[in-house]
């Protein structure tokens, strides 16, 4: 791909470690500025060295504070850190107040911690569409650890799985009863559980409930078949702490550890970092990392194609008289959304059918 001269020098500056170039690159990515795709495409050759850690959990769980302490500890160990902190944007004005930076107080004045606040810009799932590309920019810049902090919206905030190598889910004490831990969504995606604010009442119970849940998962998932263990049997395993693997043949599986932290005081952060490192080692040794990376790129390709098709459709919509006119026609009872979708797509479908014999040249060559 080709870049213009400005982007060329931007890339050069970024690779040379100039902070402003990294900042500017991320802005280009966020704004979908002309040429950003070529730029990101060039970044890929320089990526792959960073550990990407995702931190998610409900609002007020202590994500920003924990990220701050993580960054500080990594810096003490001599590693460079990039942080991407995402906050929600207003569905009405698109505006946002990005406040995560305030908590990142331990590392101010240290430019080797690069903190970037992003607005979700209307996307659900806890990440901005630009997040994955911003991670690439930080990776190419040479950051050792990249920490992504999600919006903290709630139970379905699972996009982070597709972007991070290791996902930590923060569960503050008193997050509901044990039924909450049975639900699908955010608790399923954890590679490491963090019970933050562990000095508060109810922390022990939350740890216990998570432990029970992890054990249930082991029973039904890893043991194969499942179902034949009743709750009594599981309860009888009092000595089972969820980390020892009873069956030797399950060495391939990762059991999410549960770490207790008090982020405001820095308690438990070292243990947390050790568990993150353990998970990283597991990913590499088990070959899961390769699988994850493959899935991630597959998803990126899909997303890009979806964006392109979306843009095509916008053009088609304009050609059919614009979305407002069409919507008005539905309102007047003249037609319905399904018919309109068919009509708008018809010329595109016709084109695709004509092309179908030609091979797809761009889809699989990236990996």
């Amino acid at each position: 791909m080709t870049m213009d001269a400005d982007d060329e020098s931007l890339l050069e500056d970024l690779l040379a470690g100039k902070h402003r170039a990294l900042a500017r690159t991320i802005s280009k990515i966020e704004n979908r500025s002309p040429g950003y795709r070529d730029l990101v495409s060039e970044l890929y050759a320089h990526t792959g060295d960073a550990d990407v850690i995702g931190i998610t959990g409900s609002p007020g769980a202590g994500k920003s504070t924990l990220v701050d302490k993580l960054a500080e500890t990594y810096r003490d160990r001599g590693e460079t850190v990039g942080v991407i902190a995402i906050d929600p944007s207003s569905p009405f004005t698109g505006g946002a107040v990005l406040g995560d930076r305030i908590r990142m107080a331990s590392t101010v004045g240290d430019m080797d911690v690069f903190v970037r606040s992003m607005s979700a810009r209307g996307t659900l799932g806890g990440l901005s569409t630009a997040t994955a590309d911003a991670v690439k920019a930080m990776d190419a810049f040479g950051k050792d650890k990249i920490i992504i902090e999600t919006v903290g919206a709630g139970q379905n905030e699972i996009d982070i799985v597709r972007t991070a190598d290791t996902v930590a889910v923060l569960v503050p004490p008193g997050s509901g009863d044990d039924i909450q831990t049975l639900k699908a969504g955010i608790l399923e995606i954890a590679d490491v559980f963090v019970v933050n604010k562990a000095d508060r009442d109810g922390a022990d119970r939350t740890v216990q409930e998570l432990r029970d849940m992890v054990q249930l998962g082991d029973e039904s998932g890893a043991a194969g078949g499942g179902g034949h263990h009743s709750q009594e049997v599981i309860d009888a395993h009092d000595d089972w702490d969820g980390e020892t693997d009873a069956d030797g043949d399950e060495a391939e599986d990762w059991t999410p550890p549960i770490v207790e932290t008090v982020a405001t005081k820095g308690t438990g952060v070292e243990t947390f970092i050790d568990e993150l490192a353990n998970h990283r080692a597991y990913l590499v040794e088990s070959g899961t990392r390769a699988e994850k990376v493959r899935q991630r790129y597959a998803e990126e390709i899909r997303t890009l194609l979806r964006e392109d098709v979306h843009a095509l459709l916008e053009d088609e919509l304009d050609a059919s008289g614009g979305i407002n006119g069409l919507a008005d026609a539905v309102r007047r009872g003249e037609t319905d959304p399904y018919s309109i979708a068919n009509d708008v797509l018809a010329p595109v479908e016709a084109c695709v059918e004509n092309l179908e014999t030609e091979p797809d040249e761009d889809g699989s060559s990236r990996e």
């Binding site: 900042a23 802005s27 207003s90 505006g95 107040v97 101010v108 209307g122 916008e314």
Partner: protein
């Protein structure tokens, strides 16, 4: 919907610098900017000029709004401007100052590179309008 998401958003850093614990005004401005559709990063209280510069550079903001009610603007603002210059960010960042700044100090701040000063009584619409019109095109 998505075409709106792809549109460029004005990014602002609302900064409190130095020993000044009055942030009501900064909160009001941050909220109003949000409602105007801007992306606002709030620095938090008691930041040093270096911290403000770091945030402004890393966040690549179009607009830096500095709120000072402590009277130390003649010391702190030039430090911030020098810091921005060091990272090559001075020329294309719109720097605004707000708070209690006497008339006789305004010329000096403008010479240092502050684009506009909004004192007590400024309407929020005026500030937003100024940002919309003067935010750097990059």
């Amino acid at each position: 919907m998505s075409s709106e998401q792809e549109a460029e958003s004005i990014r602002c850093l609302v900064a409190k610098v130095g020993l000044d614990g009055h942030d009501r005004g900064a909160h009001v401005v941050a909220r109003a900017f949000r409602d105007a559709g801007f992306e606002v990063i709030y620095s938090g209280l008691h930041k040093s000029p270096e911290e403000i510069v770091q945030a402004a550079v890393q966040e690549d903001v179009d607009v830096l709004g500095i709120s000072i009610l402590s009277g130390a603007h003649d010391t702190l603002v030039p430090k911030i401007m020098d810091g921005l210059e060091e990272y090559g960010a001075k020329d294309d960042t719109l720097v605004l100052a707000g708070g209690v700044i006497p008339d006789e100090d305004r010329e000096g701040l403008k010479d240092a590179g502050v684009a506009a000063i909004f004192g007590p009584g400024t309407s929020i619409e005026e500030t937003i309008e100024f940002v919309r019109e003067n935010a750097p095109q990059r």
